[in-house]
Amino acid sequence: MRGRMQLALIKLNPMTHTERKMPENKPRNVVRRGLLLACILLVPGLVVAAEPTAKDVGNSLWLAWLGICGALVFFMQAGFALLECGMSRAKNTVNIIMKNFCDMATSTLGFWAVGFGLMFGMNQSGWIGASDFAMQSNDGAAMMNFFYQLMFAATCSTIVSGAVAERMRFSAYLIGAFIITLVIYPVYGAWTWNDDGWLAKLGFIDAAGSSVVHAVGGWVALGAVLALGPRLGRFSRKGEVRDIPGHNLPMFALGAFILWFGWMGFNGGSANRDFSDLAKILINTTLGPAAAVVGALVAMKLSGSPILMTRTINGALGGLVAITAGCKTMDPAFALVAGFVAGMLVPLAESWLLKMQIDDVVGAIPVHGACGVWGTLAAGAFYSGDLFSVERILVQFIGAVAAMIWALPMGYIMFKAIDMAVGLRVNAQDEQRGLDYAEHFEAGYSDITTSHVPPGPHASPTRDPA
């Protein structure tokens, strides 16, 4: 759906109903004036200098909006970094920032070189694209589309970071993030967002990536933590679960705020070229997490759990993930339902993971994996004008299962292969010291006393054989 829409923009550039009605050179309201201004400021090269037609202005506005959305999605990287940092121990903060910062770089390189081509290139088989590698074009629209898609790819890879925090080697993580955007994410994207993908042809709906970005990221994260194992002492040999509280929950909350804010761009970029559904998308993008917060609170209350901020926020993020697939095809009332269920799903999935002794530091698997699957199904069930269509739900189910069958084993195999090649997990000594010191030789809080004691001057930052 998404690929079809964007390729239509690039190749056909059709005049929409709204544009035909709009008088030339007379923006209808303040929003349009604002968008026009943004267009002029941000994308000067795309603005036609003299006597722009309504079509040109609309096109430019849309591209400018896409650029803004891409930037918002980029900003989500900061949200992920803060969220993960806040949920981890102080001795690993530098490592987490480094992972989230550097995976942007590796994702960019991987997606530019190969990923985009695999995902959006000529796809005769329905399984994989085979053109547009090392993306290079003079077409501004095509490049803007690439830019926007790149941010999605980076988001998918960074989801894994939160799950594997505090014990994965930096180099292993970067290799993994590179391969995710090189192969794992683009191949599933080729099935769904490429016009010729086999899932796209079935009518699979995933407007902004509940499955393509989030479920795939969540499944890869699950594969990674299965290959990696839990942090030292997270589960006792007798099966007790030990809490490892984050060192800075305000930072965690700020990260979530940034993610919610960035999600306006994440989903907003899926709007039609005439922006006719933008308001609906943005409203759904707000209603979903709002209902999810309530859902998480209700779930905690019903289960007798204390009202935890971490679970409430993760519930909201689950709501955002769940509304992502159907943000433009779902009525707001059903966005509430989708969000509410997602909010309840997150604490349940977190509890299940703990029961299975799977250590997911930030709750990436419940939020992105479980809610990604739910959002995919909800997009089919709550399709506006065709509610509870069995056919749609079945197609969505096939798509969700395909994401799991592809991404989970791929993630597991990939990280096992990385383990054999360069080593996946830091040793116990480094886990004791903290990855800031062990991997980067820098302290996140050098002037602040924490419960962690850094090694002395005689200690070597190099890896010990022990």
């Binding site: 030292l232 002492g233 997270r234 030990r242 200690a459 022990a466």
Partner: protein, 253 residues
């Protein structure tokens, strides 16, 4: 040393001894050992005491382990849950206490030795060097290392997780030389009481791995957050020792 604390500790030690030793004479000898050499210590080191007891009472490995475990548990048990001393021991201790006061050395190590019972006199005396870690004078790095390990063990005790800690140590297989591994097994079988014997076997290059070995066991027994706190507290406590001025405990991290 506050008399109330001594009284409380005496009850705790008696409680632990009586749960492991059957003969009252052995209990008395071991308790006298505590009265003589350990009752006036602010930081009572269970492992050193158990090691000393093994010199005056015959104990097999299981008994050593049980005694250490019982002592660790008793030292952290609330006073109201500790049984009272038998009347005879209470009366004797009161007499000793008066005698110590008269000698003007209530908390003096040497003074308490002079008032010790014959059973203790007959036993090999515990050298002051063992308790005060006098090795620090000649080898401060070894002394700091020893102090750090002792402080980590004490941390597990204070967290009331000594048994779990010991169990975790037993289950681990750290990458150490065969000689160190062998010494480690003996150390674990002694319920970590034979600390001095163990540290003397550990080479300088292996000390960091040994500290990490204890840290991993702490993570398993107490949880990673408590393990970090215990490690931090142990390092800070060790940094207060005079030997730490010559060799930082952080070099073992």
């Amino acid at each position: 040393m506050n008399e109330a604390i001594v009284q409380r500790n005496r009850r705790a030690v008696y409680h632990a001894l009586s749960s492991v030793l059957r003969e009252s004479a052995a209990i008395t000898r071991a308790l006298d050992m505590w009265e003589t050499n350990f009752s006036d210590q602010r930081g009572f080191r269970v492992n050193l005491y158990v090691n000393a007891v093994t010199q005056v009472v015959d104990l097999n490995d299981a008994q050593v382990r049980a005694l250490a475990s019982g002592l660790y548990a008793a030292m952290t048990t609330p006073e109201k849950n500790l049984p009272q001393l038998p009347a005879a021991l209470r009366a004797r201790n009161a007499t000793e206490h008066v005698a110590q006061l008269q000698a003007g050395a209530t908390s003096s190590h040497l003074a308490s030795q002079t008032t010790a019972q014959p059973a203790v006199k007959a036993a090999p005396p515990v050298q002051a060097a063992d308790v005060s870690m006098q090795t620090g004078v000649t080898n401060p790095r070894l002394a700091v290392f020893t102090s750090l390990l002792a402080a980590l063990i004490d941390g597990a005790t204070r967290a009331r997780k000594f048994d779990d800690f010991l169990e975790s140590m037993d289950a681990q297989a750290p990458s150490l030389s065969p000689a160190t591994l062998q010494a480690r097994t003996v150390w674990i079988n002694s319920a970590l009481t034979k600390l001095r014997q163990f540290v003397n076997v550990v080479s300088d290059a292996e000390r960091r791995a040994v500290v990490n070995d204890l840290y991993v066991a702490l993570c398993d027994a107490c949880g990673p957050v408590a393990a970090d706190r215990i490690l931090a507290a142990a390092v800070q406590a060790t940094e207060q020792t005079p030997e730490a001025g010559f060799s930082s405990p952080r070099s073992f991290l």
